[in-house]
Symmetry: C2
Subunit: 336 residues, 2 copies
DNA sequence: GTGAAAGCGCTAACAC
DNA sequence: GTGTTAGCGCTTTCAC
């Protein structure tokens, strides 16, 4: 048995008050920004607190204020490159702004009802959902409980629900533009089994722009998702190769699956035989085998806007829902 | 302004008790597994609670029990493929076992002191650290406060700190074995700038096994990390190519950087001109351009063991630190 | 600016 | 098995 380290008794505001020779209220005020307290008292309290190793008990504060700084972060497919970047940025931004992200990775086995009660039971300050399929029940319950909710990359139209999206319209159009500018006269979009709101928006903008430019464009519909979806698209792309097409994949992982299959299984030369553009600018897009041209969405921008929305809603719960659009930029590499 | 949805007043155990015609204690017991309460009373309570939409307030419970179900999850480089997989698995396992992960993504800008107070202020049930550089201060403070702490992939020897590691010894030896079995008579390990405990262990086991087999082995030391580290190793590998070496990278991202550079920048044929083996089995290792042989560590196994350790320590805070080793397996692909 | 008192919603010890 | 009572540690009116 190891007993070198002693259990330090929990020191409370009462202890600090005693040492500092003030009341517990004073201690509380010393640790509350903007509370009315004289600099001298605050100083005394802070000193005593430091001596005792006092920390405010956030659970007690939460009970009292009926709200904690916890924010539910609901995410699917976290191990996907773009999602991982997104959550990394989001978690950091939340902490920077004084929130504490509670992470929930959902999948088929995770019942939404269960999640819901977890979240609401903790008196969270808000909820952020970046998931392909955010359970509507959660959204509704959050609204009912007046819990601020921000949806990322979704379009569900619910009251009290704020949303942040990339500029999918611009992104889709940009993809068509760059492909056409590089000389492609036949455009193809790869459409996933379950494309999600953003995917649909990007592809429809892509086709729209193609039509404006008078360039024929079509879809390849595939079963599967991510890299596997791209792999699945390869046979159809191969069939259309004599048109020297420009292909748009609404996410980099899909583009990479396609590119990888074409280059390494079929010895297709890119961009000579086809042009390819992805979306997201994940780290792998820069890798040598890929050198993938793509549309970049800054996860930092997303994170910043998301937390901004959250704070606004907390301050002002009864305004109409906001929708924020994050800008996208073209990252030109060798695949177009 | 949208006002369709009414703010639902917070319903407390008192309300439920009144409706069910019992005391608040009875309500509490109905929601506490293993509490002594008759089935009939429980039934009445549950019914009343359902009618009112009651949920136990976990903040209040936490204040009372002096412990929440929150678990601090401290991670660096979350957007790295293996880390993302790891956190995904860990977060799911924690939730499955009744814990709630609070996610902290650390980097240079995140002061550890700050983190620490956040964590301890929330009365967390435990802390899990899977980071390249877990701040020792955090470990010590957790120990002092009797907060269970599990370290993943680390070897710091601190009292009250449990650890879970992959079987780096086996993994490193396996890497040497498979390379030698494939006919390599010259072995190289790529050593990163800051290899971390696991990296060191893997590489030293690799060399040890090489020595046992009577095969010469050396290191390539590189600046940089992950994919970039692999890129940086390429020139040195190229110099040694006439030995038809077997190269071991202590992580897949490094192996991929090397492989990608060699194949796509220098037209080196793998496995004809060199054998390559990585570590972790990230999804990208399976991609066509890579087809990377690797040592697999199951993130699910890690997650399960980690949470197990946490629960043991909570139940039994004063036992000596445990160290658990997670098995690794060889995933044979085309790069060896 | 400061202290006293009340209470956030729950659980646990204690009687019965 | 059930109700009563007493806090958990904090913030917050409300007097002063």
């Amino acid at each position: 048995m190891v007993h070198d380290i002693q259990k330090q008794a929990a020191v409370t505001s009462f202890d600090v008050a005693k040492i500092a020779g003030v009341s517990r209220s004073a201690v509380s005020r010393a640790f509350t920004t903007g509370a009315s307290i004289s600099p001298e008292t605050r100083e005394k309290v802070l000193e005593a607190a430091a001596g005792l190793g006092y920390r405010v008990n956030l659970v007690a504060r939460g009970l009292n204020k009926q709200r904690t700084d916890l924010v539910g972060l609901i995410v699917s497919a976290l191990s996907t490159p773009y999602r991982a970047m997104q959550i990394d940025a989001l978690a950091k931004q939340l902490v920077r702004d004084g929130f504490r992200p509670m992470l929930f990775c959902i999948d088929e086995s995770m019942r939404e009802e269960q999640l819901l009660s977890i979240l609401l039971n903790y008196q969270v300050s808000g909820v952020v959902i970046t998931s392909d399929a955010p359970p509507v029940a959660i959204c509704e319950e959050c609204a009912r409980m007046q819990v601020p909710l921000v949806l990322i990359h979704r379009m569900d139209n619910l009251p009290f629900v704020d949303r942040v999206n990339g500029d999918d319209l611009k992104g889709g159009r940009m993809a068509a533009d760059v492909l056409v500018q590089s000389g492609r006269r036949h455009l193809i979009a790869v459409k996933l089994e379950d494309p999600g709101y953003s995917g649909i928006a990007r592809i429809s903008a892509f086709h729209e722009r193609a039509a404006e430019l008078g360039i024929p464009s079509g879809d390849i519909s595939v079963l599967g998702d991510e890299y596997e979806g791209g792999v699945a698209a390869a046979p159809s792309v191969l069939e259309q190769l004599d048109h020297f097409p420009g292909v748009f994949c609404p996410s980099d992982t899909v583009a990479l699956g396609l590119l990888d299959t074409l280059r390494n299984k079929h010895a297709i030369r890119i961009p000579e035989q086809l042009g390819l553009i992805g979306y997201d600018d994940i780290p792998q897009a820069r890798w040598a085998f890929a050198d993938l041209t793509t549309i970049r969405q800054s996860v930092e921008d997303f994170a910043q806007v998301t937390v901004e929305l959250l704070k606004d809603r907390i301050k002002n719960p009864d305004t109409d829902p906001h929708i924020k659009i994050v800008d996208v930029t073209l990252v030109m590499r060798g695949s177009v």
